[in-house]
């Protein structure tokens, strides 16, 4: 079927003039993204970031006072303190204020010690520094693990992942409002008939409608990404010691996945709006499209599928395929015969 972009452009222009005069559409295009991008990260990140006392990235200052040393010994059922142990095997011991280098420890309690290399099995470690130690069935508390994120860092990074859901929701939710107003509005107004009487194809109308929603939604999503990055970095930097944003996951999410998701939302709302007669039910049904997105992200956040940039790209491709399928469906709904005879 014929698709002439100048026609699409005329339709998009007309839609924009209409958007400018619809306060609901303006609110959803301006206010909603700003809230999503500023208030939400603040609410979520400030409590977590302020709980930590600065970047917990350095080792604990243990101030060890080592009075003797052992090497290559086998020790069991002992209490050890202020000793430097190298290449020792220790079983069922209580160890405090020691330095353990390449030691094999089993069933022991270790406290206030520097531990380098070696391996721990079925033990309990607290207030210690660990560096490159294998841990099996061992609990580590209030300690510094070299090369491992701190609890605060882990929490912040997890929250950021959840915030990505909210961010992707911006281009998902706005179309439910805009599409319901423009399509149900045209239906109520009966303005589709004269439009369909012009020498334009159904596809041009569909693409014009969809593009007029797609363009502002995606642009506004991208536009609020900058303040979002600044806010997130400002809040989390003191706790992390570095700026976490933007990373590859977010770049892929915002610039690749969100346009795809936006397209999906627009097309499903076009289809839904053609079946209902009032704006409210269009919005209620339309907002259901966020559910699969949220579900997917929950699966990712829970770690069932690792949240990596590559997986986001892959997800974007999956959504693109869904988009194409929905475009096909929308084209069938958006035929003039269908619109005039069956859209009520």
């Amino acid at each position: 079927m014929i698709l002439r972009w100048d026609r699409v452009g005329i339709i998009v222009q007309k839609e924009f003039s209409e958007f400018r005069r619809n306060k609901y559409i303006l609110y959803s295009l301006v206010l909603m993204p700003i809230i999503f991008a500023t208030v939400l990260p603040a609410i979520y990140l400030i409590p977590v970031s302020s709980m930590s006392e600065g970047p917990a990235n350095g080792p604990l200052d243990l101030d060890l006072n080592l009075s003797s040393s052992m090497q290559g010994e086998y020790l069991s059922d002992v209490v050890l303190s202020n000793i430097s142990l190298v290449d020792c095997t220790v079983q069922n011991a209580i160890i405090s204020n020691c330095r353990l280098e390449n030691c094999t420890v089993e069933g022991s309690l270790v406290e206030g010690s520097d531990i380098i290399g070696g391996g721990f099995t079925d033990s309990f470690v607290q207030q210690s520094n660990l560096d490159g130690t294998d841990l099996v069935g061992t609990t580590v508390q209030d300690s510094f693990l070299a090369g491992q994120p701190s609890d605060t860092e882990t929490a912040i990074l997890l929250l950021l992942n959840i915030l990505l859901i909210f961010f992707i929701l911006i281009p998902t939710v706005i179309p439910t409002v805009v599409a319901s107003y423009t399509i149900v509005g045209e239906k109520i107004n009966r303005s589709l008939e004269p439009l369909l009487a012009t020498p334009t194809t159904d596809l041009e109308l569909l693409v014009g409608k969809a593009a007029s929603i797609f363009i502002p939604c995606v642009l506004v999503t991208w536009a609020v990404f900058l303040p979002f990055v600044i806010i997130v970095n400002t809040i989390t930097e003191p706790a992390l010691g570095y700026s976490p944003m933007p990373d590859a996951i977010w770049i892929a999410g915002v610039f690749l996945l969100s346009p795809m998701v936006c397209g999906m939302s627009i097309l499903s709302n076009v289809i839904i709006s053609s079946r209902v007669t009032d704006v409210r039910s269009a919005q209620q049904l339309g907002s259901l499209v966020v559910l699969p997105i949220v579900a997917l992200f929950l699966i990712m956040a829970m770690g069932l599928i690792p949240l990596t940039a590559l997986n986001i790209v892959f997800l974007a491709l999956v959504v693109l395929i869904i988009d194409l399928a929905m475009l096909n469906l929308a084209r069938r709904t958006f035929r003039r015969e269908e619109i005039l005879v069956n859209w009520k």
Partner: protein, 320 residues
């Protein structure tokens, strides 16, 4: 299915339908419609609510497809995908409801449609100005249409149908909702358009409009019940009518004139004798002679016709 007729075969400027039929889930909206509307003709489609008038216009505008049969605009087939865009650019449609973009101004509405019809900028703006001026809306051009009265919206909608100077104009109840003066403006405007040689198909419930505007009318109730000029239809369904006004009436005149061959009925109202005749040029002199020979004094003789309303009602009642 045979080969689709090629556009060049019927390249004469007119509207033609051949057994045009449209059903909606079992309900027959239009059945076996055969129409031929000549170039430059104003054709009125009359018929009760639900008669299929709007459905016919929609099929002719290539908006909905016929269930069977076919329709041609300027030789182009409304069912042909490749013809439809050309048909739509030649047709100006005034739909049943104005369907304007309420938040936009009259000017913006017309600009948008002008662009959609591909009218070049300078021509478009001159045309919109002229249309809005004629329809007395120029001063309100920048106001949002939502603040317009029903009649004002109807006028903008009419302007929209004309913004691309279409050769074919389909008007679905053009004067409905208009005050008498606005209706007059629109009617005069249609007369003007007719003068410009446009082919106009209009649906109306206003028989007065139909009589004044249309060269021919068709009465539709799913099927086409009658077609012809308003006068032809009056003559066909009521015969010709002659009215004789007398100063004095001799006894027995109403009965006596019935014996004149070709006089179908006679009816006396006060001093007026109304007669249905087969051919006025044959019967009228005989009637006058008879009255005078009976001692009557004739004041004047007038050719009378039933109004379109009577004709319409008779057609509809007789139509089953």
């Amino acid at each position: 299915m045979g080969l689709p007729p090629s556009p060049s075969v019927k390249a004469n400027e007119m509207i033609e339908t051949v057994d045009l039929t449209r059903r909606f889930d079992g309900l027959v909206a239009v059945e076996g419609l055969n129409l031929r509307i000549e170039d430059g003709e104003v054709f009125g489609l009359l018929g009760p609510n639900g008669a299929g008038k709007t459905t016919t216009i929609r099929m002719l505008s290539a908006l909905i497809s016929p269930t069977s049969g076919s329709a041609f605009i300027d030789g182009l087939d409304v069912s042909h995908r490749q013809d439809q865009l050309r048909i739509r650019s030649m047709v100006g449609l005034l739909p049943e409801s104005p369907g304007l973009y309420e938040s936009l101004s009259a000017w913006q509405n017309l600009e948008f449609y002008g662009k959609m019809y591909g009218v070049p900028t300078s021509e478009r703006q001159a045309r919109i100005k002229q249309l809005l001026t004629t329809l007395e809306l120029w001063d309100r051009r920048d106001d949002a249409v939502s603040g317009f009265s029903k009649g004002m919206k109807q006028k903008v909608s009419i302007a929209r149908a004309l913004v691309h100077e279409p050769r074919y104009l389909f008007l679905d109840e053009p004067t409905s909702g208009l005050d008498p003066q606005a209706a007059l403006t629109v009617r005069q405007y249609i007369m003007e358009l007719r003068g410009e040689g446009r082919t106009i198909l209009l649906n109306t419930h206003n028989l007065d409009d139909a009589h004044r505007l249309c060269d021919r009318i068709g009465v539709l109730r799913s099927r086409l019940l009658a077609i012809g000029s308003p006068d032809e239809l009056a003559d066909r369904f009521f015969g010709r009518t002659t009215m004789v006004r007398m100063v004095s009436i001799p006894k027995g005149v109403p009965e006596a004139v019935l014996k004149v061959p070709g006089v179908l009925s006679s009816e006396l109202n006060g001093n007026e004798l109304t007669l249905r005749v087969e051919d006025p040029s044959v019967q009228n002199p005989l009637i006058v002679d008879l009255i005078i020979s009976m001692g009557g004094k004739v004041e004047y003789v007038e050719q009378g016709r039933r109004g379109l309303e009577d004709v319409y009602l008779k057609i509809i009642e007789g139509g089953g």
